[in-house]
């Protein structure tokens, strides 16, 4: 079976772990437990074994954390739709990622779509799309667009 490494990248507490856990184990927890270093999970999508690296958001741009990305075939950039600054941060995060591992297929998850504090502007979404990324508005809590996100990423790297 084909195996591919993908990485979840984005600011802390945006929902990287939640999206991964929802997708891999179909669970969600309201409680926030920050990820230390990296947690690796696997899931099979369309005959491909996805190795999902759920990387800590804190210091995600430090050289140490960047080493987790080596060998990745695709990237899922994750932001918190209720914290618009985490959406803007995606641009600089990806620039740093690209410097380390080159251009790889990328999808974007604007997460926590279920919350009323959602405040992503159309301009923000436009600027993400302009970089060629497919943007998903996800809710790990309600399982919205989680499948779509991972399936799309998998298709891009197959």
């Amino acid at each position: 079976m084909d195996k591919k490494k993908v990485c979840m990248v984005g600011d802390f507490s945006v929902g990287k772990t939640s999206l991964t856990q929802k997708f891999v184990n179909n669970v969600f927890s309201e409680q926030y437990l920050t990820t230390i270093g990296v947690k690796i999970d696997t899931a099979i999508v369309d005959e491909t074994k996805l190795i999902v690296w759920d990387v800590a958001g804190r210091d995600s741009l430090s050289p140490i954390n960047l080493s987790y990305l080596v060998g990745a075939s695709g990237i899922a950039l994750v932001a918190d739709g209720t914290r618009p600054e985490t959406v803007d941060d995606l641009h600089s995060i990806w620039d740093t990622v690209e410097k380390r591992i080159g251009k790889v297929p990328t999808v974007v998850a604007l997460n926590k779509r279920d919350l009323p504090e959602w405040s992503v502007t159309p301009e923000q979404i436009q600027s993400l799309k302009e970089r060629g990324w497919i943007v998903f508005e996800t809710s790990a809590k309600e399982g919205v667009e989680v499948e779509g996100l991972f399936t799309q990423l998998c298709r891009l790297i197959q």
Partner: protein
């Protein structure tokens, strides 16, 4: 270099007594050696010669030449490990060491740091919201203070407005009293009396219009004004405005021009009295605030749409004041021209009710243009062919129920002059009794009376099989009062002060129907 670093690393781990484990592969990443400790971290037993990535997930994506340190990786056992990939000539060394201690410390610190940052962010948002809310409140406060100020100045304005005509009425009635005491009534004294009476009438009319304005304003506020369109001569409305305001313009040497594209006899369906009221206010203001030059009233009726424009060459309105003139009670200070400050508010409300929108354009020293458009259906030709009622009401017998003796005396006198026979009673019970004993042609009924009010009297008359038409006279113009009166079987509803002409018209209609 690689071997040295491996040596150093291994040494350090050993030194710290970390649980060390390792895995060696060849250049093709096939496993060649596995240390004992690897299963402790939850990895399966790996047969030699197998591909490492089939057993160790995180190896997917790496090749034998990858040199990388993965400081904190959660192993399948849940224990956090540090992983070092060290390439060599023969292949790749993958070294695992226990990093749970470090992970625990990191966990505590990072959890706190992240939570703090989230809290701080939340706090910033809340502070920002609080600031905004307090700004908004401050604005509202200011608006309230302004409203209170306007209300106050309105009250004192209104009191002042009332005091002037009332003092004049009292003054002239005193004069009248003195004049009529005079035993030798010469023509000059009569002339004096007549001019005093005219002054009293003027002042009374002024008070009446003040009261009407105040009432209208209250009703507009309470959505109680009803527009009552009926057939009317549109040209007449404008001609009335000309007749009413030309004299005032004349005394100020202001040229007043009326331009219409329709002729006398142009019948439309409109609430002419409300339209007249609006025009009187707008054109009246234009004349009032123009001291030289001209005031032009233009009216054009095209395809059942009436466009009205009032243009003056007066002082104009500053930007500041233009923004405020729609506020109830607002009056431009220092013009020295009194009013209630309600006229424009009422006019705007009425125009809106009639389906239009008031537009005011003005600049200081540049004059003012006020315009609006109203839908105005034309009256169809067959409806025009109604015969003019001929007034022939001699010998009519009227019962008047009215508790206010001044109003009653006045009506009795005026009806008397028309050869109408009036019986006056002062409450509903007496009216009921009179109606049972005598045959009348019309009953004029006040609503609020002692002993038995108008409603009760009408109800009793209805039960008693009364067929004489009853006309209610009420101070209220509210539609629900009208409706209630209708339910009690009244034939007409007159609002006070009731003019004699209205009664005559009504008497004529009722008797010609009969």
């Amino acid at each position: 270099m690689a071997a040295l670093s491996l040596q150093k690393h291994i040494n350090k781990q050993l030194y710290d007594k970390w649980d060390l484990a390792y895995l060696y592969t060849d250049k093709n990443l096939k496993v060649v050696e596995v240390s004992d400790g690897l299963t402790l971290y939850g990895y399966p037993e790996i047969p030699l010669g197998c591909e490492v990535e089939d057993y160790v997930d995180f190896m997917v994506g790496f090749d034998a030449s990858t040199r990388v340190d993965l400081p904190l990786v959660e192993s399948p056992s849940g224990i956090t490990v540090a992983v070092n990939l060290i390439p060599s000539k023969r292949g790749l060394a993958i070294v695992f060491s226990n990093a749970s201690h470090l992970a625990e410390q990191r966990q505590l610190l990072q959890q706190k740091a992240n939570e703090n940052e989230l809290l701080l962010r939340q706090q910033r948002i809340l502070t920002h919201r609080l600031e905004q809310a307090s700004k908004e409140l401050e604005g509202k406060n200011e608006a309230l203070r302004e409203a209170a100020r306007l209300q106050n100045s309105f009250l004192s304005g209104v009191s002042h407005e009332f005091r002037t005509p009332l003092s004049s009425i009292i003054g002239y009635t005193n004069l009248l009293e003195r004049e009529t005491h005079n035993p030798d009534k010469n023509p000059e004294a009569y002339a004096n009396c007549r001019s005093y009476l005219r002054a009293v009438k003027r002042s009374s009319k002024h008070i009446l219009s003040l009261v009407e304005n105040l009432l209208d304003h209250g009703k507009l506020d309470a959505d109680q004004i009803v527009i009552r369109p009926k057939p009317c001569d549109l040209h007449e409305v404008f001609d009335d405005i000309r007749l009413l305001l030309s004299p005032l313009a004349g005394t100020k040497n202001v040229e007043f021009t009326l331009q219409t594209n329709f002729e006398p006899g142009c019948m439309v369906i409109a609430d002419d009295s409300r339209l007249r009221q609006c025009l009187l206010n707008i054109v009246g203001n234009a004349v009032k605030f123009t001291d030289k030059g001209s005031v032009t009233l233009k009216a054009e009726l095209n395809r059942e749409l009436l466009s009205i424009e009032v243009i003056d060459t007066g002082e104009g309105i500053s930007k500041d004041n233009l923004a405020k003139i729609r506020i109830p009670f607002f009056q431009v200070a220092d013009t020295g021209k009194a009013g209630t400050g309600l006229g424009l508010t009422i006019t705007e409300g009425l125009i809106e009710l009639m389906g239009g929108e008031l537009v005011i354009r003005s600049e200081l020293h540049q004059g003012t243009q006020v315009s609006f458009e109203l839908p105005m259906p034309l009256l169809e030709a067959e409806a025009l062919a109604m015969p003019e009622p001929s007034i022939d009401i001699d010998q009519l017998k009227v019962l008047l129920a009215e508790d206010d003796s001044d109003i009653a005396d006045l009506l009795v006198m005026l009806l008397d002059e028309q050869n109408i026979e009036v019986t006056h009673v002062s409450n509903g019970a007496l009216a009921l009794e009179a109606s049972e004993h005598e045959q009348f042609d019309l009953i004029l009924m006040d609503l609020h009376m002692p002993v038995m009010d108008g409603y009760q009297a009408m109800e009793a008359m209805q039960k008693g099989g009364n067929t004489v038409p009853v006309a209610v006279m009420s101070a209220s113009n509210l539609s629900e009062d009208r409706l209630q009166a209708q339910q009690y079987g009244c034939a007409a509803y007159l609002t006070k002060p009731v003019e004699i002409e209205e009664i005559l018209l009504l008497a004529n209609q009722l008797t010609s129907e009969a």
